[in-house]
Amino acid sequence: MHTRISLLLTVMLGFAAATLTAQPPYRNYDELTRQLQTLQKKYDNIMTLNSIGLSAEGRKIWAVTLSKGNDKDKPAIAIIANIEASRLAGSVMATHLISGLCEKYNTQDDMKKLFTDQIIYIIPRLNVDGAESYFNKIKEEKITNNTAIDNDHDGLLDEDGADDLNSDKLITMMRCKEAGGEWMIDPEHPELLKKADILKGETGIYALYPEGIDDDNDGLYNEDGKGGVNLNNNFPHAYPYHQKNAGVYMTSEPETRAMLDFFMAHKNITLMLTYSKYDNLRHIPTPASKKPKKGYNRSLVKKMDKDDLEYHKILADLFTKGLPSEYKKCSNPAVKPQGALHSWAYYQYGILGLSTNAWTRPQPVDSSDTKGSKRKADDESTWLEWFKHSDINGHIKWTPFKHPQLGDVEIGGFVPFTKITPPSLGSDLIDSHVEFALQLAKKLPHVKISGAKAINKSNGIYDIELTVQNTGFLPTLLEHAQYTDAVMPTRAKIEKGNFTLLAGKVITFIDPLKHSEAQTLHWTIQAKKTNKITISVWSEKAGTAQQTLTLN
């Protein structure tokens, strides 16, 4: 009997848990705001919530600061999510990071030191306007904000968007039999289409359009819907001029500028991570083959420095090692970043710019499926298998429809958002991300004064010796940051006092210091016994240190 009850309980609890996770975790802007405010109240001993600017439609862009104490110069990590409108999984992961980190702070003793020495900034949703589209009655996947753009260059703005013709509240695709159509039914997967390979003598029979009518009668379907600019194409490194979704010019969007201004106002940010469509933690970038030429005329750097990449690889390794096994490989192919925030962070701001998909399709779906591993990462049939496996309605069967302009068509295909917004992220995955954020925080550089002395040389003449050391893991300046002057040099300053400087400078620049590296500075002064000498060390990325010596 007892066994039966406990079994029943387990089943019930299991069921309850399943219902909870089945509840889609995605929140619209107002819900997200309330969630953040609730978290802030709950964890006000470590968390502050600020707006870093307004979106084009006037929404506040929220930034969370997790820090103990008031030191604003200490090294920081910034984590930015939901830059692309549809990537709401990132914002969910970001809010889990906030609660997960705060909870750890309240329950684990070693966290006190971590958040005293470091700051973690989290911007859970940068594209606050665009992300609202997920919550529209009719679901249409989009990555941009809502800035009106003349996508089809006809002098009209946003005049031909998609239409839910079959009233299933989803914008899917239309296929239409057309002479010269590029698409044919995939013989292996009849529910899917594939491009006809004309070299193999295959003949396409279908033309493919997004679901809708040609509102502006220009022969094109849904080519100029609402919006917009993909913020992750709008940053000023490798900006894709004149390309779709990139905006009229680099940094054209208020959200882009708010992000840049935040970084500029918080130069203590030493490391950053974005949750985006780019994944350079599982697709490791190729480094430059040689160092760029130094001198007055420097050249544009387009690839990572080899030495910097070593650090990147170590962090990437930490990440993948911690991930649940089904996520270790990225199911999405590598995408070349253009105007992306994380590339800007490395190439122009001078720190490591990490980026990962907050969620990817777990793989392999079935370990016995050997065929699956041979397929291309973005193979549509693998998605179908996963949808089936996970009981997700991810693909709509092609169904005939009488189109007012095209005549007989069939509507069907992939359901919007299902490839990027899973029903649940899973606690294993979330835990690994929280752990990774903590691991990153432990890798930041720190300048410390590891030795200081005043040697009495003769009557009132002192040699001051100060040793500055990087006790953190990352270097105080990356190679690329040195090449570009993107980061200020570390400096030591003898504060004003009752002494005369005989040799040495008031401000001395300190070389870039790698992990455990140290540099010793020397000054000669003339001063009276018992006078005090204070030396301050300031590093843009590795915090500050100060030491006062009493002469004797």
């Binding site: 003349d150 220009d218 000023p236 010019y249 840049l260």
Partner: protein
């Protein structure tokens, strides 16, 4: 017939002259043999708009870093049409705070157009057909600083956002100092035993670097000042320290590639305000940005990493600039990256390559103008006799024509760090700004060049050249869209990169239905390319070429008097009616 025409012209001229005499003299009196500081320019802009309220309006488009208004004067004759419906010329100056005379040239242009409206027919035509936007001071703080008592020093080029140039954690803590209180920042030299410089044998006022094998008796200490922050370096962190003409969104590159670029495009309040204004006025079809100096008519690209301009665009640039070379003695037409130096994120790169506007930047004043003789080329070896003789000539101009005003004789001074030194040398900005008596000519010649540029902006005329009855209520209409000027409504580059909205020509109204439409490719051989979609609203994404013509064919069914609407971002908005006779 001819005589009659002539008579009418003479009578018309006489009437205008008579009208002129009766007209009250202008109440705003401007002088072009002096410079106006920021506050004075503000005052005289306000008086100008008061005097010409029918044409001028004044608007502040934002505040500078230090809170000064960014002024834009709009010139539009509302009687001849809405502002947004005409092609506009945008003229600015002084984005480099020390490059002052451009502001005077802008003010001169406003003054000249207004004073000569209804006096000179081509001025009247320009004012009636075009819109002008004038920004005399793109960098208000820089200009204000330049005319400060302490401002005659290097960093007036920059805006006034405090910047840490020497990376010591402090901003703007060690600028120049007017040590002797004479209102000038001069050069400092010190007599020593083992020096690097000596006094020229050609003229005692010239300092020459010693050649190998000889020892000098002076060292040069740079411009006037002290080591305010005691870091061993002099004047290394003065006001500002960035370049607002490198802060624009085309080919913008970070500071390691482009000194002074700023944090990102439009990161300064001044550049942001101007960019917002220009984006809000898509009818701007011509841009001129005045700088100094060197005597140049510059166009992009700013860097050879950018594609060369397309052939048809170059032909238009060449046409305008070559007319300019004839108007501006000693000025040369140059391509920025090729003939001057590479510029990333420059203003006219953005307007030309980012917005598709035909844009020039003139470098006002050439030192050849001192003697009205082309300067001799060649490299500047400062220790050579040739260089010293050339400098001596400059001094002679100053001695004779300016009565010595531009040069201050070396005089002793007791410097807190260096002890006994001497202060003297050229007055700051000599060679970059013209002698005052030559300023008005500089303003006029640059103004007329820019007005020629403005006159070449697209000007569209619609002419229905044929209405053919095909059946009882079926008509074939041929309407010619004619661009009477050199600049196309959509340049080749702008068309390629979709920088500007396409031209739209619509036929509607009356009781008609548009059956089909086509572009007439060859009117003599009846070659017509059909328009596949929306025949009533034709999209011309290549625009109308300079001095070009495009005939549209419509087949319509119905009757009445439909209207043709022409709508072009840079080629104006006009309408005309078509009469369909039964």
């Amino acid at each position: 017939m001819l005589n009659k025409k002539l008579l009418i012209t003479i009578l018309a001229v006489l009437t205008i002259r008579a009208g002129l005499l009766a007209q009250a003299p202008p109440s705003v009196k401007l002088s072009y043999n002096r410079f106006y500081n920021y506050d004075e320019v503000t005052g005289l802009l306000k008086s100008l708009i008061k005097q010409y309220p029918a044409f001028l309006s004044l608007q502040s488009i934002g505040k500078s870093t230090q809170g000064r208004d960014m002024w834009v004067v709009t010139m539009n004759n509302t009687k001849t049409g809405e502002e947004a419906h005409k092609a506009a010329m945008y003229i600015d100056a002084n984005i480099h705070g020390n490059e002052v005379q451009g502001a005077e040239a802008v003010i001169y242009t406003i003054d000249y157009l207004m004073t000569n409206y209804n006096r000179i027919p081509s001025v009247t035509e320009l004012v009636d057909q075009r819109v002008f936007y004038f920004v005399p001071m793109a960098n208000p703080d820089g200009r204000a600083h330049f005319f400060d008592k302490t401002g005659m020093c290097g960093y007036a080029r920059s805006g006034m956002q405090p910047t840490d140039n020497d990376k010591d954690g402090l901003a703007d803590e060690d600028g120049n100092d007017d040590l002797d209180g004479d209102g000038l920042i001069l050069q400092m030299r010190k007599k020593v035993t083992y020096g690097t410089h000596k006094i020229s044998a050609h003229d005692s006022r010239l300092m020459i670097r010693t050649s190998p094998g000889e020892s000098g008796n002076y060292i040069m200490l740079g411009s006037e000042g002290i080591d305010n922050d005691h870091d061993g370096r002099l004047n290394e962190d003065g006001p500002g320290g960035y370049d607002m003409n490198r802060n624009w969104a085309t080919d913008w590159q970070p500071n390691y590639l482009q000194r002074g670029a700023g944090n990102y495009p439009f990161s300064h309040p001044e550049t942001r305000a101007i960019a917002k204004f220009i984006l809000a006025h898509p009818n701007i079809a011509g841009v001129q940005a005045y700088h100094n100096a060197g005597g140049m008519i510059l166009r992009g690209p700013g860097d050879n990493s950018q594609d060369a301009y397309p052939r048809e665009d170059i032909m238009v640039y060449d046409h305008i600039a070559k007319r300019g070379e004839a108007m501006l003695p000693f000025y040369s037409y140059m391509i920025l990256w090729r003939d001057l130096y590479p510029v990333h994120g420059g203003f006219i790169d953005w307007t030309a390559e980012g917005l598709g506007i035909f844009s020039f930047s003139n470098e006002l004043w050439s030192t050849s103008q001192y003697h009205n003789k082309a300067r001799d080329g060649g490299r500047r070896d400062r220790s050579s006799d040739a260089y010293q003789i050339k400098q001596k000539k400059r001094l002679r101009f100053d001695d004779d024509v300016e009565m010595g005003a531009q040069y201050v004789e070396w005089k002793p001074f007791d410097h807190p760090d260096y002890g006994e030194i001497e202060l003297g040398g050229w007055v700051h900005e000599t060679g970059r700004v013209p002698p005052l008596f030559m300023l008005e000519e500089l303003c006029h010649r640059n103004a007329v060049f820019t007005l020629y540029h403005a006159a070449q902006m697209p000007l569209i005329k619609l002419e229905t050249i044929k209405i053919e009855k095909l059946d009882h209520d079926l008509y074939k209409i041929w309407t010619a869209i004619i661009n009477e000027r050199a600049i196309p409504t959509i340049g080749q580059l702008a068309g390629k990169n979709h920088l500007i909205s396409p031209d739209i020509v619509e036929l509607k109204g009356g009781r008609i239905e548009v059956i089909s439409a086509g572009l007439v490719k060859d009117e003599w051989n009846n070659q017509v390319t059909p328009i596949e979609h929306r025949p009533e609203r034709i999209v011309l994404d290549k625009g109308i070429k300079g001095n070009g013509r495009q005939i549209i064919q419509w087949i319509v069914k119905g009757s009445g008097t439909p209207t043709i609407y022409w709508q072009s971002q840079m080629g104006g908005v006009i309408t005309t009616k078509v009469q369909l006779k039964q």
